[in-house]
């Protein structure tokens, strides 16, 4: 194999695929990327961790010999990063080595044969639909912060996607860690009817989100079965991310979304966010609890810390129900408020121990449920 590639293209491509590769691997070839040069000048770069694989194509300046080889992903990425901007990088594989040449630099890297490189068998992916890249990016942004990181409840370690028939057919994305829940609803895309319920793992979500940065206004093609999902993105050359899905049952989350919370608080999400952020400065690292006192048309935020003293701040708000005192984890509250774009946010409360519903308004596609802390 011999190919010459512009450094910027190679670097961008490697930056996408290298984060798929885990830093430590018991199987040596999983540390490598597969580089495949075709006679027509197209070079494919592929990385995998056995659960997730990303393939990206780029145009080479020239391909003088078709072929394929695997080399260390992180080494090649670090080299490409340090090569001078605007240079052309020549990759040539021979005698179990790959030579990387650019300007006056020359590297010779150990390789492993391409035939040993594992590829995810996709099988049949019967459900197929398209989503604008921007919509998919928003769907991820609005929900991913609530994904659980507690590994034993593996079925919470991803974003749950399912279709439902309400007034109109919809596609919903949901994530929860048992303390908060985020849900994002969009119209059901053509082709998604009858789609199996799937849980897309956290790492696949993170890698996909990175690729979406490059996708601009294009559409993303999504093909899936009950066990695998494939995202095909446009952009230059094209990027394909294939992931196994989490084999588990997501809880029936709709039952924790409160429908009868009668106390409505409305306020500016930014001043609320900043107020919470300020008083939480003195909260101890472990609990991060902020007490919220609701009175007629005002909110009093306060924190009492045995080590750091006390803090309080008043935030103007619209509230007309009976006074209520409720505690929240400041970081959770900030996570959610950070997702609200508009000038007001609605908090629907019941009592100090019940799930609180947070949303921009009743027409917003995103909805959040936050459990309070014991005050």
């Amino acid at each position: 194999m011999k190919a010459t590639i512009e450094r910027a293209k190679l670097l961008r491509c490697l930056s996408h695929v290298q984060s798929v590769v885990e830093r430590r691997n018991t199987i040596p070839i999983l540390s490598n990327v597969l580089i495949e040069a075709a006679g027509d000048g197209l070079v494919r770069v592929m990385a995998t961790d056995l659960d997730l694989q990303v393939v990206e194509s780029l145009d080479a300046v020239s391909v003088d010999g078709a072929g394929a080889i695997t080399v260390s992903a992180h080494l090649l990425f670090d080299i490409a990063r340090k090569l001078p901007d605007g240079s052309q990088v020549s990759l040539e594989a021979a005698d179990n080595r790959m030579t990387v040449k650019a300007g006056r630099s020359r590297f010779s890297l150990p390789t492993l044969p391409r035939d040993d490189f594992p590829v995810i068998v996709e099988g049949d992916l019967p459900t197929s639909f398209e989503l604008p890249a921007k919509v998919l990016a928003e769907l991820i942004d609005r929900t991913r912060f609530a994904i659980s990181t507690e590994e034993t409840r593996y079925y919470l370690n991803g974003i749950f996607l399912h279709v439902a028939d309400e007034d109109t057919p919809v596609l919903k994305a949901a994530a929860t860690d048992g303390h908060r829940l985020a849900r994002f609803t969009i119209d059901r895309p053509d082709g998604a009817a009858g789609m199996p319920d799937v849980i897309v793992p956290r790492k696949a979500v993170a890698e996909l989100r990175k690729l979406l940065e490059e996708a601009g206004d294009s559409n993303v093609l999504i093909d899936l079965s009950a066990s695998k999902v494939r995202f095909t993105l446009g952009g230059e050359g094209g990027m394909v991310l294939t992931s196994k899905l989490i084999d588990g049952t997501f809880p029936d989350y709709s039952r924790v979304i409160p429908t009868g919370n009668d106390k409505l608080l409305k306020l500016d999400p930014r001043s609320f966010f900043q107020g919470v952020d300020r008083v939480a400065t003195i909260a101890t690292e472990k609990t991060r609890a902020v007490k919220i006192g609701l009175e007629t048309d005002k909110v009093v935020l306060s924190v009492t810390s045995p080590d750091n003293g006390t803090a309080a701040e008043e935030v103007p708000a619209s509230y007309s129900s009976e006074p209520l005192e409720i505690g929240f984890n400041a970081n959770y509250l900030k996570d959610i408020l950070g997702q609200i774009d508009g000038d007001t946010v609605e908090l629907h409360l019941a009592d100090a121990g019940a799930p609180t519903l947070i949303r921009q308004d009743d027409s917003s596609p995103a909805l959040y449920v936050l459990m309070p802390m014991r005050v």
Partner: protein, 202 residues
């Protein structure tokens, strides 16, 4: 202050299987032979949460006969008519009688049901309690293994309701603390359900 957990629901479909063991093996056996019941009728009683309705669903699911769930709270005259119809049709009738004893005031019904087959679910032994614990955990999506059974079963009550409360508490505490359900959580759950094991010194 500590975090509350979202009340993420138990799977709506109920348990995926019936755990059979010392408490209910004789009941399952008798239910399977409904064609031999005296007067085509059996009365099933048992402690709260012991799986009476679950067995009733299993019974109708297999087409073994008719079921009247919560028969003890039903109008006795209506129940008596139901019993009479059963004598005509010959389709086996299983009555769920709640927690024993089931006091019946209508003398006719009392004598008829007195002649029916009496089935009572008992308390599980260690082996069955362990199986129940794992089944209850699975229903909640709570990862719990054999080591948990070995630790918890000797330390908790034997009734089905106790086991259910314990599993719910482990689930809640592990969600609240965002920690895997390991021994520290088991211990805290036992303490929350049964009170502290020993008086604290300090």
């Amino acid at each position: 202050m500590s975090q509350f957990a979202l009340p993420l629901a138990v799977r709506a479909s109920g348990p995926s299987r019936v755990i059979v063991g010392s408490a209910n093996a004789h009941v399952v056996e008798a239910l399977s032979a409904s064609e031999h019941w005296p007067f085509h009728t059996a009365v099933l009683t048992g402690p709260p949460r012991s799986g009476k309705s679950l067995l009733a669903r299993w019974f109708t699911g297999r087409g073994l006969g008719d079921v009247v769930d919560d028969a003890f709270s039903m109008d006795e005259t209506a129940l008596f008519h139901h019993w009479n119809r059963t004598q005509e049709t010959g389709v086996p009738l299983l009555l769920i009688g709640g927690v024993p004893p089931w006091r019946i005031s209508l003398p006719d019904l009392q004598s008829r049901l007195g002649a029916a087959l009496q089935l009572e679910i008992g308390l599980p032994d260690d082996a069955m309690a362990g199986d129940l614990l794992l089944s209850l955990a699975e229903e909640r999506g709570l990862p719990l293994g054999e080591d948990a059974v070995g630790y918890l079963i000797p330390r908790t009550g034997r009734s089905q309701a106790d086991l259910e409360r314990l599993v719910a508490m482990i689930d809640r505490l592990s969600l609240e603390r965002k920690q895997p359900a390991t021994q520290s959580i088991w211990r805290a759950a036992l303490e929350a359900v049964h009170g502290p094991q020993e008086p604290r010194l300090l």
